[in-house]
């Protein structure tokens, strides 16, 4: 495992191009594009203001930089560095800006969700989509980039519009049976649209691409409902995380509940493995200090060593009691992610913030629990292999795979509290972000490992 040197960034704006060749970072109002392999600066663009949002186009040709405060969007081309485009939303304001899947249109959402403006880079045409709904996830492109589903609110009723991304033609428009729609999400194969209601009502509606209601699922009533939703990559499972600290998995044929994963405070499942991160402070004797001190003076002086230990069951997991009289209580499943092969599901329960749960979908049971010493900030699956990277805001990187679990300190001068991370699309590198710095972590590929073994 190798680590690159550290670069600066602001606003956590650091993206790898979809083709995996370039790394774009924003530092204040500057946009820096580097080569991923050499980390040499290829281009340097200067924006009009501090960038709040940055995004690559799907063909890795253009980079969008949005400055919400000034309602401005600037687009830069990689092929033609002197090409530029500036979109000004004017007095309407700007709250969100994103590429359309074809990489030639930009969708801007104005303030108060008045409308969605679709700007084209190919022609002068501008389209407006009215009545977009301000909610958790009101807009979702299907994975093949052909359709976009948009949640709308008209006459105090929820509607969903499906547009064809090619020509922004309305394909379907239907009313949904929801109190207050909270989000829409396409299945990876783009044929089923999952629509879920606000957290006050537990309700998931599944619509076919042609607007037919396929199924409705509701686990319970009255209590706070759905908190998050995740499709498996095979579109076979729909995981629903809710405020009752459970994950329910629906199957794609009957759309009935397949299984319910609980997140108990005491793990007593004999087949699960509980990895507990044990911190080891560097407490050496006086003699130790004299020599060792000088050697390790470099950077890891304040760092603590940590390692995983397998706890004998049953294990008591630390639970944070949520404040019940405040809105959006910190309880329930807030984030879930299926591995790329749909075999594993990683979940995080908000009132057990230091734990990540890994479930085996093939056997439908708990596989592992990773108990960290600090609250988990972010976890993400490798886009190629079933391995999970997570960070806790400490200067360590944690990786779980079915074979085991490791913790790697980031060997950087000074501390490098990893706030978030993202995988390179090849699965061979990780981008680690601290508050102001970023660092690339190169993982050994099989070929390299083979070389090492032979030499």
């Amino acid at each position: 495992m190798n680590f690159s040197e550290v670069f600066k960034h602001t606003n956590q704006l650091c993206r790898v191009s979809p083709d995996g060749k370039y790394l774009a970072t924003c530092v204040q109002y500057r946009l820096v594009v580097r080569d991923v392999s050499s980390l040499q600066i290829l281009h340097l663009y200067t924006c009009l203001d501090q960038v709040t949002c940055m995004e690559w186009s799907s063909d890795s040709q253009f980079i969008l930089c949005a400055m919400y405060k000034r309602a401005l969007v600037q687009v830069w081309s990689l092929e033609q560095p002197d090409w530029h485009c500036k979109i000004d939303e004017g007095s309407a304001g700007l709250v969100s800006s994103r590429w359309s899947p074809d990489g030639r249109h930009i969708l801007n959402t104005t303030e108060f969700h008045l409308r969605v403006t679709v700007w084209s880079l190919c022609s002068k045409s501008v389209s407006y989509i009215k009545y977009p709904k301000a909610c958790q996830k009101g807009l979702d492109f299907s994975r093949d980039g052909r359709y976009v589903a948009l949640a709308e609110r008209r006459d105090c009723k929820d509607h969903v519009s499906v547009f064809v991304c090619d020509d922004w033609q309305l394909l379907r428009h239907f009313e949904t049976d929801t109190q207050d729609l909270a989000g829409v999400e396409w299945s990876p194969n783009g044929c089923v649209l999952a629509v879920w209601d606000t957290c006050l009502e537990y309700r998931v509606l599944l619509y076919s691409l042609d607007g037919r209601l396929l199924s409705t699922y509701s686990a319970y009533e009255w209590c706070l409902g759905i908190k998050s939703i995740a499709w498996s990559a095979s579109s076979q499972f729909l995981a629903i995380g809710s405020y009752d600290e459970k994950v329910r998995i629906l199957n794609h044929i009957t759309w009935k509940k397949l299984i319910e994963f609980e997140h108990p405070a005491t793990v007593s499942n004999s087949k699960a493995v509980v990895y507990k991160e044990m911190e080891r402070r560097h407490v050496g004797g006086c003699d130790d200090l004299t020599l060792h001190h000088q050697i390790t003076l470099g950077g890891s002086l304040f760092n603590t060593q940590s390692k995983y230990e397998i706890c004998p069951l049953p294990v008591q997991i630390p639970v944070v009691k949520p404040d019940s009289d405040r809105a959006n209580p910190k309880v329930g499943i807030s984030s879930m992610a299926f591995s790329v092969d749909s075999r594993y599901l990683a979940t995080k329960n908000d009132n057990m913030p230091s734990c990540v749960w890994v479930w085996d979908i093939q056997r439908l049971r708990l596989l592992a629990v990773l108990e960290q010493t600090a609250p988990v900030r972010c976890f993400q699956w490798d886009p190629r292999r079933p391995r999970l990277a997570l960070c806790t805001g400490s200067s360590k990187l944690y990786i779980w795979s079915p074979a085991g679990c490791i913790s790697v300190p980031v060997p950087v001068e000074g501390s490098f509290p990893v706030q978030s991370l993202s995988w390179h699309s090849s699965g061979q590198a990780l981008i680690l972000l601290s508050k102001e710095h970023l660092c690339l972590c190169y993982l050994e590929t099989e070929a390299e490992r083979g070389d090492v073994a032979s030499s």
Binding site: S58, D59, Q61, S77, D82, W83, H84, C85, K86, I87, D88, E89, G90, S91, A92, D102, G103, R104, F112, L114, R115, W119, S120, L121, C122, S123, K124, V126, K130, Y131, R146, Y147, R153, R154, C156, V164, D166, D167, Q169, L171, N189, G190, C191, S208, L209, D210, I253
Partner: protein, 678 residues
Amino acid sequence: MAAVLLVAPGSRKASNLQANLRSADRRELVASHGPRLTKYVPGSGRWARFRRFHRRHVSDTSGVHRDLCAEKPFIATCVALALRSPADSQLFSHPADTGDRWTPAMAESSLESSNMSCNSSRLMYPSRNHTHSSMPLSKQSYSVLSAFCSEGNIAQCISYINQEMSSLGFPALCNELDSGGDLKAVSVLNNMYELLQLHRRSLRALEELETEQLKSASHLEHLKLCNSRLKEQLEQSRRESTGLCERERQLQMKVKSLQNCLKNEKEEVQKLQNIISSRASQYNHDMKRKEREFSKLKERLNQLLIDKKDKRLAIEVLNYVGRSDGKRSLWKTGKTEARNEGEMYQTLLNDYESRQKELLVENAELKKVLQQMKKEMVSILSPRKHSQKGETIDDSLDLPGSENEEEVCDSSRETLELSCEHAREQLTNSIRQQWRRLKNHMEKLDNQASLVQNGSLGDNEVISRKSHEETVEKLKLEIQQCKDFIQTQQQLWQQQLSCPCDDETAALLNDCYMLEEKERLKEEWRLFDEQKKNFEKERRNFTEAAIRLGHERKAFEEDRAMWLKHQFLNMTPFLDRNKSQSALKSPEASEVTVAPESQYHNAFSTPKAAPAKIPSTADLYRTLRLLPDHGSPRSQPKNGNWQDSDVILSRDVSAKSGFLGAADCSIYSLVGTESSPN
């Protein structure tokens, strides 16, 4: 009434006394003794009778008195009875024989006492009673007695006493006729005696009664105590009960209040629910209103933004770029719409198709598995069935089904691809059937296993094993015992050896050792003897064989001599022809059957008999120049050994040597070789 009756004489007498003595305190005494008098009545023998009667009566009458009689001294009851009521008191006046006699007597006595009537046997007792009752009175008034009689009034006194006595039923003290007559000393003394007796008796009775009284008093005391205690208890329990009642009341009150509370709460809940629902509806309504306003505002804002012709709202592009797919954008027309629709349906169709394919594959796989399972089930179950065809009814019943299944199996395989409804049904049915059978079988096996475990199954193997174990156990025990025995022996030996011993014991020990040696020697001797015996036997055998050989040789020599003689004698063939021909037939016929048996029994005798004929035949052959090979091998063993073997001997050397060897070896082997040609 009875009491009145009884007291009456007393009172009468008291009145007499009153009249006579005029003593206030005496009167008092009488008054005080009045009740006692009644008590004294039963002192006499008549009293006993009364008691008897009373007892009887009481047993007859109501149970109210029964317990009283049983518990308390009788006198008290009597008095109580007497005092109680007329009905009760009638007991005394109206009863059967005794009472009958008694009451009138009482009446009489009361009447006659004034008249000084004559003393009748009937009056006797009651009157005596009265006297008796007056006894303490007289005793009391001893001091007064001095004043009663003086020199001057002796006669009066006498008459008075006499009168009194007679009135009390005693014989007269003096002759009535001569009023101033002398006292009859005898009768006076008798009376005196009688009075004394009475007095004593009464005293005794008094004592008894007093003790009775004491007893009853103590009893009463005890009862009172009991009573008070019980009362206390009663009081206490009453108090407790009232306390409990109070508590119960309080609890009930509490329950009531709680129920009220509950009711109130329920009402509250209902109210709150209503409030919530009303608020929710209100909220929803307001929300809708606000949302409408909001949307109106949005609309307005939108309108304003559009109307304003915001100059800033623009896009600045250096030059437009081409589409990512390189195509030019198309106009929005109906055609594109239709195309989009078509594409959408295409995607959906593709998805469904792929899903169907997946399902098909899955189904096919499952079916395959099902088929395989079925086949395996059939293969597992069928041999068992064949072996136990007639064993259970179930199996035999299932048999036709299984035959059907074979067909089904084939047919379903044919229709597998078609996944025909009918075939599927059949398949599942057959699988189910097989499965049921398998389950039954498994259950049966389970039962067997459990039976075996319980040991209730009469399995040979199990029993043998058990017995095996038992025997092993027994043997082990035996071994252990033996070992113990040996050890103890060894220990004893050790002790024997270790302990200091005198010469005698040493000698004994030596002897012991010698004994062992002797024993061994004896054993050897025995072996030696045995060997010797064996040798003797063999030798005897040898000698016997030698003797036999000698005999045989002798016989042979004899035969030979005879034969030579015969030959010498029958030199002329003419004479011999007829003889030999007849002989040729007869011996053959007879000896075919006889010879083999006789060979053994008279191995030495036959040669003697045979030579007379057989040499002649041999000679005949020879003389006839016939080939000896034809006849001799057959006839030879039948007819005899020695002369024929000689014939052979002359021709075949090897055979002869074989014979000789055999003869040398032993008689048994000889017999063996003899029998072998046969």
